[in-house]
Symmetry: C2
Subunit: 206 residues, 2 copies
DNA sequence: ATTTTTTTATTGAACGGTCAATCAACAAAA
DNA sequence: TTTTGTTGATTGACCGTTCAATAAAAAAAT
């Protein structure tokens, strides 16, 4: 039943099928035959809409990145001029959004991280994302903390978020989102609530 | 020049060659031909000493895990009954040991993480390692903190270590080991030095 | 309103290429 | 003479891409 306007439908189907395939057998064994089967189409369609397998994989990563961006910015939009802590919590919540914590998406993230070490286009996407997280965190901490402290707090929180997320992906019992968020909140609180100790620390470094 | 007692030599050569190959082109393109070429031997040797490519990859992961275990336990052995903080610092230092922060090893770790989602033997190895880090941290925090707090501190620090490490692996500028350690030390200090706030937090949770 | 033409969507077999594993043959030491 | 080490061509399987063929809808022509 070929009709006009299939492109966006097929693209979505194929991206979703890619996530399912990676969840099932991993990126290494996610063949176009398997992906096409999951989408209920033939293999040729992939080259037609994505110009080959690499194009589909890149589009899949872009899709996940887009979801992450939305999850964060939607939460922050409602906040306006709210205190830094509220924005930091929103960024944390966005990173642990439903769209980022499903088994298939976590597996796909891991696979893309590994791939991005050797595929420059994926590497570019991934680095833009890393930088965005860091600079979002950094600018919020900067509203309350001196420069160097804000920078370190941002680096620490970014690492904590990614680390909680990574350990959740690898753990048998999966990611406990509530607990992860709580640990990240605690980190934020300690960074914001300890000016005198933070100052001493800053001096130690000098 | 075939002689007796080649096994350990060849095994070491091939594992090292595997790391080099993964560093060069990634796990997906680390063919046995490429690995054998790096080791200066023929492809057949791999099946002879490792019973196939999978065996070599598993041995490579075991090798890295062994290095990590040594890096941690050597540092801790000298400490004996030293305070918890000293042991925690030693665990941190071990995780950021030279043997774990070279480009090739970090790339290989990432690749194995992704692979371990779908290969049960790698998964087993990786989980033993994750659990060991957590339980080492947990038992040290337990010497100073009440149970629930110690558990959370261990979870947080484990995530922070892995996250710093991950972000270092992905970042263009590489991992800044000094900075990473310092951030992890700060986390330890805040967990150990804030009993009253920690207590309040524990109550909040209840 | 009907027919013809063009465009868009889709298929899946065929092709070229790659890879891991195998194994018969060979070589040097024991 | 036996054991241990090593080679590398061969084999069989698999994978991504291509493309000729097909089909249906849309557009144009009658």
């Amino acid at each position: 039943m070929p009709k006009v306007g299939m492109q966006p439908i097929r693209r979505r189907q194929l991206i979703e099928a890619t996530l399912v395939a990676i969840d099932e057998v991993g990126l290494a064994d996610a063949t176009i035959a398997r992906i096409a089967r999951h989408a209920g189409v033939s293999t040729g369609i992939i080259s037609h809409y994505f110009d080959g397998k690499d194009g589909l994989l890149e589009a899949t990563m872009r899709h996940i990145l887009g979801d992450l961006g939305s999850a964060v910015s939607e939460r922050r939009r409602a906040l306006g001029e709210a205190p830094a802590q509220a924005h930091l919590h929103a960024i944390i919540d966005g990173n642990f959004d439903r769209s980022q914590t499903s088994r298939s998406v976590m597996k796909t993230w891991l696979a893309f991280w590994a791939s991005s070490m050797h595929h420059t286009n994926l590497q570019r996407l991934q680095r833009v994302n890393d930088r965005r997280l860091y600079s979002n965190l950094s600018s919020q901490f900067r509203r309350v903390l001196p420069k160097r402290q804000a920078r370190d707090a941002a680096r620490g929180l970014a690492a904590l978020i990614d680390g909680l997320w990574l350990r959740g992906a690898l753990a048998q019992e999966g990611l406990d989102v509530e607990r992860a968020r709580q640990l990240a909140y605690d980190y934020v609180r300690e960074q914001l609530d300890t000016p005198q100790r933070a100052q001493r620390r800053a001096n130690d470094y000098a």
